[in-house]
Amino acid sequence: MNNKHHMGLRTLNRVSNTAIYILLIIISVVWLIPFIFIVLQSFRVESTYQVGYVIPHQWGWQNYINLWNSDFKRWYLNTFIIALAAAVLVTVIQLCMSYTLSRFRFKLRGPLMRFMLILGMFPGMLTMIILYRVLSDLGLTQANAVPGLILVSVASSGMGYYVSKGFFDTIPKSLDEAARVDGATRAQVLYKIILPLSKPIVIYTILTAFMGPWGDYVFARYVAMGTSAGYNVAVGMYSWLTNDQIARMYTTFCAGGVIVAVPVTILFLCLQKYYVEGVTGGAVKG
C-alpha cells in the first residue's frame, strides 16, 4: 500500500518534470528569439531595410563595416567612458550613502530618509529641461555631453541607496561594535571590517551603474542637442530608426545592437553570481 503510493508519486513527479522541461524550453525559445533574430539580421547584406524573413539570403560583414565607417565608434567610446566613470563614482557615492544610513544613528537620519523617499516620488522626467539648462550653463552639453552626463548620473545617484542599504543591514552590528571596542575609528571599521564583507554588493552596484548608461536615451538626447560627437549609442542608434534613415540603416542598427549587447552581456554573465546575491540580499528589503 505504502509502496504503491510511492510509485504513484514518482510517476506524478516524472510527468510534472516533463511538463516543466517543455515549459522551460518554450520559455527559453521565446526569450531568446528576438536576440537571435537581431544577430541574424545583422549579417544580412542583400538589403538594408525590414523584410518578412529572418534567415539572410546572403551573409556578410557589410553592416559591421558600415558601423565602423559611421560615427558609431565615437558613440561607443562616449558611452563606454560614461559607463566606466559612472561605475566608479556612483558606487562610491551609493556606498557612502547606504553605509551611513544603515550603520549610524544620528539626529537627521529619519527626516533625511523620509525626505529622499518623498523626493523619489516626483517624476524625474520633469527635471530634464532644467538639468539640461544647468549643464548648458556649465558648458557641458553638445560636444561636451560626456562629462555632463557623468555629472548628472553621479550627482543624484545617492537617491538609489536602498538596495545596498538592505545589504548592509544584514551584516551583524556586533562586528562593528567589537572593532570599536578595540579602538578602531568609524572609518577604520568601514575599511577593515565592512568592505571586505561587501564584495557582492560592491560588484552589484558597479555592474548596475555600468549598465545604466548603455540604455540612457531621453536625457542623453537632450544633452547632445544634435551634436553627433556628444551622442551615446542609444541616441545615435535611435536616429537610424527615424523615417528618413530606417530604410538604409535598419540592418546596421541590428549590427550596432549586437556590438553593444555582447560585451555587456558577457560581463553580466561573468558577474551574475554577485548580481543575484546583491538583488536577493538588498533589493527586497526596500
Binding site: Q50, G52, I129, R133, M225, N243, A247
Partner: protein, 410 residues
C-alpha cells in the same frame, strides 16, 4: 508714422546700395558656423560650403561644422534651446511657424527676400512667408507625395482607380500603405473633392483658418477615406514597405532610391489615383510642401549678413541641382527645375503630374495637425454611415473652433 518709416526705408535702401562695395568688404573674415543637415546631405553640404569659401568674392570664409540632424529633430531641438541651436539648418516648412515662435529663424532683409521671391517657384515662396515677411530660404519643392507601386501586383491600367488598386491588393494579399492618420496626407483627400483650407496670420501666433472640410464635399472625401481605411489591406504608413508586404506606398521622393532597390524591375511610380463616390470620380489631392533653410537670429549683424550670403549660395540653382543628382530632391529654384537632371527623374515626374492636384502648403500652426489627423482615426472607428462620417467632420470643426490660436471662418 508710416511716412517716416517709408522715408527711413528708402534712405536705408539708398545707403545700402551706396555702400555696397564697402559692405562687401566688411563681410570679409572667418566665421565659425554650425549647420544641421539631414544625415544623407552632410557630406554634400560640407563640400558645397567649401566651394562657397573658394568662390565668393566677399572674402567670407566659413569654418563649418555640419551635424546630421533630421528635419524633425531640428525643430524639437530649437524648442529646447535656441541658443545651442545651429546657425543654419534644414527644416520642413510645416515647422516654420514653430521656428518663428521659438525665435529660431531670422527675418530676411529686403535683398534676401527679393532673392527668394525672384528665383523660386510660387509655392515655395509662399512656404517661406509668414504674414508680410520672409523667414527662410526654399531648399526643395518636393515635399509632396505620390504613389509607388509594384507592377507585378497592380497592372498598368488600374493605377488610376483607387477601387481597382484596393481590389488588386486584396486579391494578392498585399498591403496598401498610405499614412492617412496624418493630417498632411488626409487633407489631400479633401482637396481632391474640392474642399479648401486657407490660412492667414498677422503675428504668427493667432491664425485664421478658412476651410470647408465639414461640408457636402467633405463628406464625399470622408467616404473616400473610409473606402481605404475600412479595407483589411490598409496600412497607416509612409515608409518604404515593399519588403514587408505592401504593393502600394504613398510617399515622397525621399524614399525613391530605397523603393527602386526594393522593387527592381517591378518599380512603378505614378500620380495618386481617383476614387469614385455616387458615380462621380475624384482625383486624390495632396499637399505640396518645401524644405527650407533657416538662419538663426544673430546678435552680430556682420555674421548675420555673411550667413545670409551662405544661405543664398546653398539654395541657389547650382547647389539644388547637385542635390537632385545625388539624392533626387526636387528643386524649388526655377532655373534648377528646368534642368535635365530633374526632368528625367521618374519620381520627380510623378510629383510634377500630381502637382496639378496638389495644394501649396501654407504656414499652418502645430495644433491643427494634431486635430485634423483625428478625422481619419474617427472614420476608421466608425461604421461608414453618412451620419457617422458627418459626426467625425463635425467633431473636427468643433475641435478647430475651440483650439487656442486658431480662428475658424467659413
Amino acid at each position: 508714422m508710416k511716412k517716416i518709416l517709408s522715408i527711413v526705408l528708402a534712405l536705408a535702401m539708398v545707403l545700402s546700395m551706396g555702400v555696397f562695395a564697402s559692405a562687401a568688404s566688411e563681410l570679409a573674415g572667418e566665421y565659425d558656423v554650425t549647420v544641421w543637415a539631414p544625415e544623407a546631405a552632410v557630406s554634400l553640404t560640407e563640400q558645397q560650403i567649401a566651394d562657397f569659401n573658394a568662390s565668393n568674392e566677399l572674402g567670407i570664409t566659413i569654418n563649418a561644422t555640419v551635424e546630421p540632424v533630421s528635419e524633425a529633430d531640428a525643430a524639437s531641438n530649437m524648442d529646447t534651446d535656441v541658443s545651442a541651436g545651429a546657425d543654419l539648418f534644414f527644416f520642413a516648412q510645416d515647422q516654420l511657424s514653430r521656428m518663428i515662435k521659438d525665435g529660431a529663424v531670422t527675418k530676411l532683409g529686403q535683398g534676401a527676400a527679393a532673392f527668394v521671391t525672384e528665383n523660386n517657384s510660387a509655392g515655395s515662396v509662399l512656404a517661406a512667408q509668414s504674414g508680410e515677411d520672409y523667414y527662410a530660404y526654399p531648399l526643395t519643392a518636393d515635399n509632396g507625395y505620390f504613389m509607388y507601386y509594384d507592377k507585378s501586383v497592380i497592372p498598368e491600367e488600374d493605377v488610376d482607380s483607387l477601387e481597382a488598386i484596393i481590389a488588386d491588393c486584396e486579391a494578392a494579399g498585399k498591403n496598401f500603405s498610405y499614412e492617412l492618420e496624418n493630417a498632411w496626407y488626409n487633407a489631400g483627400v479633401f482637396f481632391g473633392t474640392g474642399c479648401h483650407s486657407d490660412w492667414s496670420t498677422e503675428d504668427n501666433t493667432n491664425f485664421t483658418l478658412d476651410d470647408d472640410f465639414n461640408s457636402e464635399n467633405g463628406l464625399i472625401a470622408a467616404k473616400g477615406i473610409y473606402k481605404l481605411v475600412s479595407s483589411p489591406i490598409y496600412v497607416n504608413s509612409s515608409n518604404a514597405d515593399f519588403a514587408s508586404g505592401s504593393a502600394v506606398v504613398v510617399t515622397g521622393t525621399w524614399n525613391y532610391a530605397t523603393i527602386l532597390e526594393q522593387l527592381g524591375d517591378n518599380f512603378g511610380v505614378a500620380d495618386l489615383p481617383s476614387f469614385e463616390v455616387d458615380g462621380q470620380s475624384y482625383h486624390l489631392g495632396s499637399y505640396n510642401g518645401c524644405k527650407l533653410l533657416g538662419v538663426k537670429p544673430q546678435e552680430d549683424a556682420v555674421k548675420g549678413a555673411a550667413l545670409n550670403q551662405l544661405a543664398q549660395y546653398l539654395t541657389g540653382a547650382e547647389c539644388q541641382i547637385a542635390r537632385t543628382v545625388e539624392f533626387g530632391w526636387g528643386p524649388s529654384n526655377n532655373e534648377a527645375a528646368a534642368d535635365e537632371s530633374v526632368t528625367s527623374n521618374p519620381a520627380l515626374t510623378a510629383l510634377a503630374e500630381q502637382s496639378a492636384f496638389s495644394v501649396p502648403q501654407p504656414n499652418i500652426p502645430g495644433p491643427w495637425w494634431d486635430i485634423a489627423k483625428v478625422i481619419t482615426t474617427d472614420i476608421k472607428a466608425s461604421d461608414g454611415s453618412d451620419a457617422a462620417l458627418q459626426a467625425a467632420l463635425q467633431k473636427y470643426e468643433d475641435s478647430v473652433g475651440a483650439a487656442s490660436g486658431i480662428t475658424l471662418v467659413k
